[in-house]
């Protein structure tokens, strides 16, 4: 059964025709937003991470109809006018990208993480000053699997994201 849902997608109001059984991942991908990836389809890998009302979710196990009335952010909305977001730039600069299949999901997770940090610190987030260490970063990102990097450069990228984000503020 098809249903029309309305939501805000990367800053713009949209109407999507979705099958009621469809996952948000499938709905987004068939809407042309193929940046979110399926690595497992059952909530194990995080490759499909998008933000719903700023909360990172595995879109593969979220029904598309649950997006009704919500604010959705996907990787496609993160760079504006060709300029990378601080998190995207940090991933590039830290060399955290190899095959890149996990990258969109990770970037979305990190984005919500550092925006959350900034909010709780009253608009500023700084590694060290608010006590964020590499273990904290690892714990926060434990739901996103990457098979290429050993996570070393991904943790570096999150540290850099924090720096860049606070620099931008």
């Amino acid at each position: 059964m098809k249903q029309i849902i309305q939501c805000q997608l990367n800053g713009k109001p949209v109407e999507l025709v979705v099958d009621v059984r469809q996952s948000l991942l499938e709905a987004l991908r068939s809407h042309g937003l193929t940046g979110c990836k399926e690595g497992c389809g059952v909530g194990e890998c995080g490759a499909c991470t998008v933000l719903i009302d700023e909360v990172p979710v595995d879109s593969c196990i979220t029904l598309a109809i649950r997006a009704e009335g919500r604010v959705i952010r996907t990787i496609e909305g993160e760079s504006i006018n060709g300029e990378l977001s601080p998190v995207q730039q940090a991933y590039v600069d830290a060399g955290a990208v190899q095959c890149g299949f996990c990258t969109p999901g990770l970037v979305m997770k990190t984005t919500s993480y550092i925006e959350g940090l900034a909010q709780s610190a009253g608009g500023c987030c700084q590694s060290g000053s608010n006590g964020i260490n590499r273990d904290d970063i690892r714990r926060e990102h434990a739901g996103n699997l990457c098979r290429c990097t050993g996570y070393q450069t991904v943790v570096d990228a999150v540290e850099k994201s924090i720096q860049y984000y606070s620099g931008q503020k």
């Binding site: 059984r21 991908r29 937003l33 193929t34 940046g35 979110c36 990836k37 399926e38 690595g39 497992c40 389809g41 059952v42 194990e44 890998c45 490759a47 996907t74 990787i75 496609e76 993160e78 760079s79 990378l84 995207q88 730039q89 991933y91 590039v92 060399g95 990208v97 190899q98 095959c99 890149g100 299949f101 996990c102 990258t103 969109p104 970037v107 590499r134 970063i137 690892r138 714990r139 990102h141 434990a142 739901g143 996103n144 699997l145 990457c146 098979r147 290429c148 990097t149 050993g150 996570y151 070393q152 450069t153 991904v154 943790v155």
Partner: protein, 759 residues
């Protein structure tokens, strides 16, 4: 000017913005979805299969079983074709089977308008099996009374042996000798992008296959063979690949999607495996059982190593015995001065099919060899690092297996550097305080050597094409396959180096297309930079020369006075400047002179270079919790000249991470009676998460390899090779307990600690 610098990945921005397109992102509208019906037994025969109900479902377009497919057995291993029929891979697969050889074997396939319909249809297919006892290990499979999984094979895929020196004499004359048996587990690649391929026809006889493959050109040949259609009627296109690690060096889905689109009148048909299918119905790493004997003198001289390997390839040969063969040959360049013997057998079984995986047999063998080396060092009371220093290869040694001189060997330097930068001696001192009680600390070390490419086992050939575009920039096409490792970027750096133009003025065509891409077997054997560098260097030289010749005509100056720098051609004292843009426009559009300036070179490489390295690791073991923490881990590599330090470090981190994960937690589990696979999903098959991964560090010793255009050697697979034995040796150092089976999971530690009466 470019080689040796940490150039940013060419595809980094495309990947962080989600714009980079993978196979599934390119599907055409209306693409049909195919799904396999996998056997739910490990060994048996399909005596009846009823597809009527499935076929009658709305949305189901076709169902095929064993009865419908071509009876042409084919080999799936991604090896370059071999002119010698005896050296070719085992042709033991059909598109579908009625003889079930492992739990998950493919017995039917459904094509439907969408995935949900296809999945529902699978449930409607009724299968009756006649079940046979599962043959899971060496003894069961090679028992003379065992059923043959493939007719005439006696369940053996291959065997071979070699001898370098007189091992029995060396053992007899050595001060001590010791033996050990080591067992490795079923491990799976778990590239984040599952196997996926789709195909359509764009003419009455022309099939286009889009696939996540490491080996587009080989894939085309195998599809042609499997379907008995001419190679030129098949076009294989490889877009961005979400990791392969060897699992996509096998032709897994492509013959089937080609078959399906052909059957369905050319409509696009896609096969995208689920994670569960990928884990147990593609390929895995061969489990090895290794018996090894090591003989040494009390002064630390390694006299002999005798290795005896049984490799389990599962239900189908795939890369078969090549794995055990390659692994054996790669130990020799590490300890070329000892007497070495190796014998190996590869057998079939009712386990998932094993194929190529990062390291190609070496991780299993290195685990055994470097473990017994540790035992030997302990037995003679010598520091394990000193023991290695005394025995490892040096530049100028002869590889006794090939009779060729080892042109560059930096393993001694790696060990020395590791000793200093890891603080080996100091840590050893400090650990004296952690040798009893509940919290123990230990140090471990292991070394490896590895090849660069497959020569002389296979042909090594690479092609490159460069075109000066109308805007003065250069397009580079290569057959070498980017699968995430960064080969396109280092190829751009090599091209830049030879052309004299910056990487920013070079576009590497990342998509491979067998209709247009220069021939190259693909991405495997850590061959890309080493094999392709010659072709890229020569093509760069050729195009540079052609550009300068055209400049010479335009400027009326002799070629010898001209150079390319940045975006222009200059004369000797830089008083004349001709931009490449102007030059290109002239070459393309001047009415009487010039032409499109291009260059193309295909080169065979008839050398292999050995890369070396070692892992140093410091662990802490909580005996009561059976918990292991890695306090520090450092890999030091001799991969010759490093073309791109950041990308190289990335390869090391990834390889070490995968090595740690394989050493400590990964294990595909089969029921010991039925061969039923227990854990083909990412919750129960434990690859390391970020939480499980320690900080990793690395270092390089840059030797110069004279057989490579830029002095470079392999690096893709090597970082993983020595990780498991180093950790095993560190646990031994910390606790006195030898973990001779992988993985060294908390459960395994519990059993071992209990046996050792530590708990």
């Amino acid at each position: 000017m470019s080689v040796g610098l940490s150039q940013e990945r060419l595809d980094a921005k495309a990947k962080v913005t989600g714009r980079c397109r993978f196979t599934g992102d390119l599907a055409l509208p209306g693409t049909r979805i195919a799904k396999y019906l996998h056997s739910n037994i490990a060994h048996g025969r399909v005596v009846d299969i009823d597809t009527t109900e499935a076929l009658a479902m709305t949305g189901v377009e076709a169902v095929f079983t064993f009865a419908d497919i071509p009876r042409i057995p084919f080999a799936t291993a991604g090896h370059a074709f071999n002119l010698d029929p005896a050296a070719r891979d085992k042709e033991d697969r059909l598109l579908l089977t009625d003889y079930v050889r492992y739990h998950g074997d493919e017995i039917a396939i459904v094509v439907a308008v969408d995935g949900l319909t296809a999945s529902k249809a699978l449930k409607k297919i009724k299968v009756t099996y006649k079940e046979y006892p599962a043959l899971l290990n060496h003894e069961q499979a090679l028992d003379t009374a065992a059923m043959e999984l493939h007719k005439g094979s006696a369940n053996q895929v291959g065997e071979h042996s070699y001898q370098c020196g007189d091992v029995p004499a060396a053992v007899a004359s050595a001060d001590i000798s010791l033996k050990g048996q080591f067992q490795t587990q079923m491990v799976q690649h778990c590239h984040m992008e599952n196997h996926i391929a789709w195909a359509y026809m764009d003419d009455t006889d022309h099939i286009v296959i889009m696939s996540s493959t490491q080996i587009p050109h080989i894939c085309r040949r195998i599809v042609s063979q499997a379907l008995d259609i001419p190679m030129s009627t098949i076009q294989v296109i490889k877009p961005a690949i979400g990791g392969g690690f060897g699992n996509k060096q096998d032709v897994v889905l492509e013959p089937m999607v080609a078959f399906l689109t052909k059957k369905l009148g050319g409509v696009p048909v896609m096969l995208e495996l689920t994670r569960e299918e990928c884990l147990s119905s593609t390929r895995i790493r061969h489990p090895f059982r290794v018996n090894v004997e090591c003989a040494v003198n009390n002064d630390g001289t390694l006299k002999a190593l005798a290795m005896d390997v049984s490799s389990n390839t599962g239900g189908y040969a795939s890369h078969g015995h090549s794995i055990a063969k390659a692994a054996g040959s790669k130990v020799v360049p590490l300890y070329p001065n000892a007497a070495l013997s190796y014998q190996a057998v590869t057998h079939y079984s009712n386990l998932p099919s094993a194929g190529a995986m990062r390291g190609y047999g070496s991780p299993q063998l290195v685990y055994a060899v470097e473990s017994i080396m540790e035992e030997a060092a302990r037995k003679i009371g010598m520091d394990s690092l000193d023991f290695r220093l005394k025995n490892v290869a040096q530049t100028g040694d002869t590889n006794p297996l090939t009779g060729k001189v080892i042109e560059s060997a930096g393993i001694r330097e790696c060990l020395i550097k590791g000793r200093e930068t890891f603080g080996w001696d100091q840590k050893k001192q400090e650990h004296q305080a952690f040798k009893s009680g509940n919290i123990r600390r230990g140090l471990g070390l292991a070394c490896f050597s590895y090849g660069s490419g497959t020569y002389p086992a296979s042909v090594e050939i690479a092609g490159a094409r460069m075109i000066l575009n109308q805007d003065g920039r250069v397009t580079v096409q290569i057959g070498a396959t980017e699968i995430g490792q960064g080969s396109d970027t280092v190829i751009a750096q090599m091209a830049s180096e030879r052309l004299g133009i910056p990487v920013s003025a070079i576009r590497v065509v990342s998509t491979q297309d067998t209709d247009t891409t220069p021939f190259d077997p693909g991405s495997f054997a850590s061959r890309q930079t080493y094999i392709v560098c010659q072709a890229v260097a020569e093509t760069g030289d050729l195009l540079r020369q052609r550009i300068l010749e055209h400049a010479s005509t335009m400027l009326e100056l002799p070629v010898e006075q001209l150079t390319i720098s940045e975006d222009a051609v200059f004369n000797g004292d830089k008083t004349v400047r001709l931009s490449l843009n102007e030059l290109a426009l002239d070459a393309y559009y001047h009415k009487t002179r010039g032409q499109q300036l291009t260059a193309e070179v295909s080169r065979k490489v008839t050398t292999s270079a050995y890369s070396y390295g070692c892992t140093l690791v410091e662990v802490e073991v909580d005996i009561k919790l059976c918990q292991l923490s890695i306090l520090g881990i450092r890999n030091i590599h001799d991969s010759g000249k490093i073309i791109n330090p950041d990308l190289a470090a990335g390869q090391v981190y990834g390889g070490v991470g995968m090595g740690i994960s394989g050493a400590l937690s990964e294990e595909l589990l089969a029921d010991p009676e039925t061969g039923w696979i227990y854990n083909n999903n990412l919750l129960d098959y434990k690859i390391a998460t970020m939480m499980d991964s320690p900080d990793i560090s690395c270092d390089f010793v840059e030797t110069h390899e004279p057989t490579a255009a830029f002095g470079n050697k392999s690096l893709g697979e090597p970082p993983l090779l020595s990780v498991a034995p180093a950790i095993r040796n560190a646990i031994l150092d910390a606790t006195g307990v030898a973990m001779n089976q992988l993985p060294m999971s908390p459960k395994a530690l519990f059993n071992a600690f209990r046996d050792a009466e530590l708990i």
